[in-house]
């Protein structure tokens, strides 16, 4: 038998093990606790050895799950023992028994600090370990500077420094202010040069935490991380003891790649190239091997590399490699790899646009939904949820519904929530949506929250076409022998409102409807009874001429509930009874419920909330959130901007049906607004209306938007507002019915979106509460293909949709047909072909308008089909560059200009800017380090592919000025490119456009200068800015 080296402890452990049952064990433990307590009380007679032994016994008992509420002081006091054995026990047991908030820890701070700054290496290690494991805020504030000193101290050995690095990480997590970014960033970069891999591993963990909060400050660490990765993954340059099953420290590789994911991008082309080389090597060079541990380690590295590749938005080729790998993984038998394949595929969905390729694996993923392992089933569910869109929603949701009947309890709630959200988001038609939700309630009523059925009611109320269908479906479910209470609620509500639409169908007479609903009354709870009473009142109202028998039956019920203890029900019963005696007047008061204002689905909101609850920020989540604001078609809270909502509040007032012929031809260029503002189309001057400001209204409606039940509590309001409504109608009658023209506010800054899209090829061009316009572009030579994604974010259709392209003279543009109506929650894609005829900086404009309810919205948006899209970077060697440069000897082919008022930026940043505009910086061509030489190829129909060269000479003493030389074989191109670069340098993102460009030297051979500004909408818009 192995012995602990402490006889008393070993005996105690043996005794515990020999206890035949839990009862005996407790007795033995109690006896020991009593013993320890008396020994501690009389501390004088306790030798250090004994103290140590009792403290270990305490920890053992604690581990067995018994409360140990004394003796903590003794453990803590051992920390200040002079000798190593006691000190060691003190530190370890304290860090196991206490957590960071314990008062006793405060008492030990001084001792701990003395150990940290003292000369005894072993004591330093003990103290750093404990602080690293349980140090709290107070430790952070008093110890961080000392710990920092140790990390960078040249006299400390690696064993102390690596502990200090992780100790600082702990303190930083507790209080980020303890690390002073200014001083520490350089130190951190130095730390990454460390040769000892233990210190390096710890430092890398520290770096991950630091960059996750502030990557900008640690920019200088980025190239070093890439170096480390090269050293490990490519050169395999590590001591033997740091390889793990032949792999150079997989943990350090993973950490390093994790750190890199917190930098938004790798801009320096050389670093980027090296990094991709390493990543490529990892992606291609990881094979499945027999040894489990080697396999795990190499796949740990591989999955991290996948994550990094996704983050870096690599070239298509590499991305498709990644997807191919993942596709392979989700089909393997090894459960870990399959799990991770599914998980990473879900992550991939969040980062890039790979839906189409992932959809090919749908069948495989659905099989995983039936895997025996719940972990894998969960991943499959998440992935199906993520990959669902309009095209496959039907299949996926039906699969989920089917699975619901057999799913384990633990998953049902999540499953039904997800099915409901998908059905709502991607319903190809609304009747299908109603089907899904009713099935959901039928199969898993317990897991269907109120939100879900409120939402159905809202949809049905807002879509007249749907009402008879929904009522008929609800009627069908009532025939089932046992139905869930939620089903009673939703069908009673729907039938109350719309059963009169079914009147001629068999089994749907008011009487029959009433009796089948009334059958359920004895089995339901009070809140449902309230709904049923409203339903009865409505049935009564719709029964014209009145059926005395039915009337008596229902009156009897109202009578009965007039003395109900539940005040809500009592109130309803009394009111309905009184109202229903008023005969025809009942019609006005109990009319159909008004349409609901459009609002964010609380389901989707809920789903979003769930996702942001873990504290530590992760790169993936951050990206996902950014992504969500850009591409996800999520319904925003748009009640504020909806002009009809105040009317809706009045309950019974019928919204005047909007006239369909609204004047919206504001394409007159003279009226064009500066890009980015919305044009309100006012067909008639609006009478001053008392409508509150949209924002205020938004705030008022905000809390209500939590999907208040349409019946509970609102019926009284209806009663009251109904009366007012009559007055309101009268008042409204004298005012001409006008189109509501509340301005629609765009979401996000349109100019910024445009400028971002000038540098990348996909993203959101425009968004407001109703519509989102995304763009995706591909450029090849002088051709381009843009796809406009027009998304309707609402549950009602967008009508009178118009998209006109106003191209400048140098672009030939063809927009495919844009449908006049965008169905609820649908997205339409409109490809736009672009051809570049000649060099010009003019910009095309999209004139987009639509009507929502009574709002006419019109926006003019610049399209990112700009000069640099027709550039293709090209690397030029010195041998090619200089002859070209010399042959283009002067104006008009080579132009030089001193530019002043340049936005000051470091040379590296300028180089990045050039690269992002497709001007390839060629380092090494110019011997002067302050200069920058770039080359690119320009494509247009008139110039064909044409090489362009440029050189920037900066003045290190004055960053606001520089001399720029641009050369190409075409004078217009030279001029336009020079002006383009100047715009980029002078002030970004919004460059004041110089007056109509006039080529500096008139030349006979020169092509016509760009069209006069009056014909160029882009220039006009810019001129108005």
């Amino acid at each position: 038998m192995a012995l602990s080296g402490m006889r008393g402890l070993s005996v105690f452990i043996s005794d515990i093990r020999n206890c035949p049952n839990k009862e005996q064990e407790r007795l033995r433990v109690d006896k020991e606790l009593g013993n320890i307590r008396t020994r501690f009380k009389n501390e004088k007679g306790l030798s250090p050895y004994e103290k140590k032994k009792y403290v270990w016994k305490m920890l053992y008992i604690y581990m067995l799950g018994y409360d140990v509420d004394f003796g903590h002081m003794e453990a803590v006091s051992l920390i200040s023992a002079p000798k190593y054995p006691e000190k060691q026990v003190g530190y370890i047991v304290t860090s196991c028994l206490l957590n960071e908030n314990h008062d006793f820890l405060r008492l030990a701070i001084n001792t701990v600090r003395n150990d940290i700054i003292g000369r005894n290496e072993t004591f330093q290690c003990l103290a750093l370990t404990m602080v690293g494991n349980i140090g709290g805020r107070e430790f952070a504030e008093s110890l961080a500077p000392d710990v920092q000193k140790l990390i960078i101290s040249s006299s400390c050995r690696p064993l102390v420094r690596k502990k200090a690095a992780l100790c600082l990480l702990r303190l930083y997590r507790k209080n980020p202010d303890v690390v002073n970014v200014d001083g520490w960033a350089d130190r951190m970069a130095q730390l990454l040069d460390e040769r000892d891999l233990g210190v390096l591993t710890s430092s890398m963990s520290l770096l991950v935490a630091l960059v996750s909060n502030n990557h900008e400050a640690y920019w200088s660490c980025l190239p070093k991380c890439v170096k480390i990765l090269e050293r490990l993954a490519r050169n395999q340059d590590v001591p033997q003891e740091y390889t793990y099953y032949g792999i150079p420290s997989p943990w350090l590789q993973v950490k390093t790649m994790r750190a890199l994911q917190y930098f938004p991008t790798v801009e320096d082309p050389n670093t980027r190239r090296s990094l991709f080389e390493v990543l490529q090597r990892i992606l291609m060079g990881t094979d499945v091997v027999k040894n489990v541990n080697k396999n795990n380690a190499s796949h740990a590295v591989l999955f991290e590399a996948l994550a990094l590749v996704m983050h870096l938005d690599a070239e298509k080729e590499m991305m498709s490699q990644c997807i191919a790998l993942l596709g392979k993984f989700i089909a393997v038998r090894e459960p870990n790899i399959r799990y991770l394949g599914l998980e990473n595929m879900t992550r991939m969905l969040m980062v890039t646009d790979v839906h189409d390729i992932i959809k090919r694996h749908q069948a495989q993923i659905i099989t995983s939904l039936k895997d025996p392992d719940i972990s894998i089933r969960r991943r499959a569910l998440d992935l199906l949820y993520g990959m669902c869109d309009v095209s496959n929603a039907k299949d996926i949701v039906e699969e989920l519904l089917q699975y619901l009947s057999t799913a384990d309890f633990a998953m049902r709630e999540e499953l039904s929530l997800k099915a409901a959200i998908l059905a709502e988001k991607f319903a190809p038609d609304l009747s299908w949506y109603v089907d899904v939700i009713l099935q959901l309630i039928d199969k898993a009523g317990d897991f269907v929250s109120d939100d879900i059925w409120f939402r159905v009611v809202q949809f049905v109320t807002n879509n007249e076409d749907l009402q008879p269908y929904a009522a008929a479906k609800a009627r069908e479910y009532l025939d089932k022998p046992a139905i869930h209470e939620t089903m009673v609620k939703v069908s009673a509500y729907l039938l109350g409102e719309y059963s009169h639409l079914l009147a001629r169908r068999p089994g749907c007479s008011p009487k029959e409807i009433f009796s089948i609903i009334h059958e359920k009354l004895p089995t339901v709870s009070m809140s449902t009874v309230a709904i049923l009473l409203s339903t009865y009142a409505k049935i009564l109202m719709h029964t014209q001429p009145a059926d005395p028998e039915l009337q008596n039956q229902i009156w009897a019920i109202f009578n009965k509930y007039e003395s109900c203890i539940e005040v809500e029900i009592q109130q309803r019963a009394v009111e309905y009874f009184a109202l229903s005696r008023k005969g025809a007047a009942l019609m006005d008061i109990l009319a159909e419920m008004p349409k609901f204002p459009e609002r964010q689905s609380s389901l989707i909101k809920k789903a979003e909330d769930v996702e942001v609850d873990t504290a530590e920020q992760s790169a993936i989540k951050l990206r996902a959130q950014q992504q969500q604001t850009s591409t996800a078609l999520v319904v925003a809270d748009q009640s504020s901007a909806n002009g009809t909502s105040p009317v809706n509040q009045l309950g019974l007032v019928k919204v005047p049906s909007m006239s369909s012929s609204v004047d919206h031809n504001s394409t007159d260029p003279g009226m064009a607004q500066p890009n980015g503002t919305l044009t309100k189309v006012d067909p008639q001057p609006q009478p001053p209306s008392p409508s509150p400001s949209p924002d205020l209204l938004g705030d008022l409606l905000g809390p209500l938007a939590i999907e208040g039940p349409p019946v509970d509590g609102e019926s009284e309001q209806n009663v009251v507002s109904g009366l007012e409504g009559v007055a309101a109608v009268d008042a409204a009658a004298i005012v001409p019915v006008t189109v509501q023209t509340n301005a629609v506010e765009p979401i996000g800054n349109i100019a910024e979106r445009f400028h971002a899209l000038c540098l990348k090829d996909s993203g959101v061009l425009y968004e407001d509460p109703y519509v989102q316009i995304g763009i995706k572009a591909e450029w090849r030579g002088h051709h381009g293909r843009l796809v406009l994604f027009l998304g309707n974010k609402n549950t009602s259709p967008l009508v009178s949709v118009q998209a006109l392209i106003l191209p400048p003279s140098h672009l030939k543009m063809e927009l495919s047909l844009v449908p006049e109506t965008i169905p609820p929650r649908a997205q339409v894609q409109c490809p736009l072909e672009v051809m570049n005829l000649r060099p010009s900086r003019d910009v095309a404009v999209l004139d987009f308008s639509y009507k929502f309810n009574t709002n006419m919205v019109n926006v003019k948006l610049r399209l990112p089909a700009v000069l640099n899209k027709f550039l293709q970077p090209i690397t030029v060697s010195a041998e090619e560059f200089f002859p070209q440069w010399r042959s283009l000897s002067g104006p008009p082919l080579k132009l030089q200009e001193v530019v002043r008022g340049v936005r000051p930026m470091p040379l590296l940043e300028m180089a990045n800017l050039f690269n992002s505009c497709h001007l390839m910086v060629c380092p090494g061509l110019d011997p002067n380090p302050n200069n920058l030489v770039a080359s690119t190829t320009f494509y247009s129909e008139s110039t064909r592919a044409m090489l362009c060269l440029s050189r920037i000479e900066t003045d290190p003493a004055d960053r606001t000025q520089l001399r720029m030389t641009v050369a190409s074989g075409d004078p217009t191109l030279t001029f336009e490119l020079k002006e383009f670069i100047k715009e980029q340098l002078v002030s970004i993102p919004i460059a004041p456009r110089p007056p109509a460009p006039v080529p500096p030297t008139p030349s006979v051979a020169q092509p016509v200068p760009p069209a006069a500004p009056s014909n160029d909408p882009g220039a006009m818009l810019a001129g108005l800015l």
Binding site: S4, L59, T122, C167, L197, N293, H299, F303
Partner: protein, 161 residues
């Protein structure tokens, strides 16, 4: 980061717990109860990851013992799985073919070793050799102190205190 490490036997007995995030005593026992319920009942051919309360628990069974580490959802699961194996290999080397009994009677050694591998829920040292060297150095420090304590002069000093 790793929030906690648990060693649980197949019978549900706790052999080691180490908490890197603050949990009260009550929460600790609740976590152990819940997780033993989840993990011990899992079949043998399933994956080594369990999703639990917004976290992930990576676990692996070695003979009668389950080694579990709880990490954040976006952490690299396989990396953690191999940290577990790294720890097991070091224990194995230290005890010479480690078994559950070694860890029961020398649970304090298991703690010492863990402290050389993890701090603040992050991997501190990936060289088995270095860890073994440091643990040996600690052991010899304790030995020396013991010898000094048992030397005659110390006995006299103790007696006359």
């Amino acid at each position: 980061m790793i929030h906690f490490v648990l060693l649980i036997s197949r019978q549900g007995k706790v052999r080691l717990t180490k908490w890197y995030s603050p949990y009260t005593q009550k929460e600790r026992s609740k976590v152990i109860r819940e997780l033993s319920g989840v993990i011990l009942t899992r079949g043998p051919k399933l994956c080594n990851f369990v999703e639990w309360r917004g976290y992930k628990v990576v676990y692996k069974r070695y003979a009668s013992l389950y080694f579990c580490m709880c990490v954040d959802q976006e952490d690299n699961e396989l990396e953690i799985l191999e940290i577990i194996h790294h720890y097991v290999e070091i224990l194995d080397r230290y005890f010479g073919s480690v078994c559950e009994l070694d860890l029961i009677f020398n649970f304090h050694k298991a703690y010492y070793i863990l402290d050389e591998i993890l701090i603040a829920g992050e991997l501190q040292e990936s060289s088995k050799k270095t860890v073994a060297r440091l643990i040996a150095a600690q052991d010899s420090l304790v030995e020396t102190a013991k010898e000094q304590a048992s030397s005659i002069s110390n006995i006299i000093a103790q007696a006359t205190k």
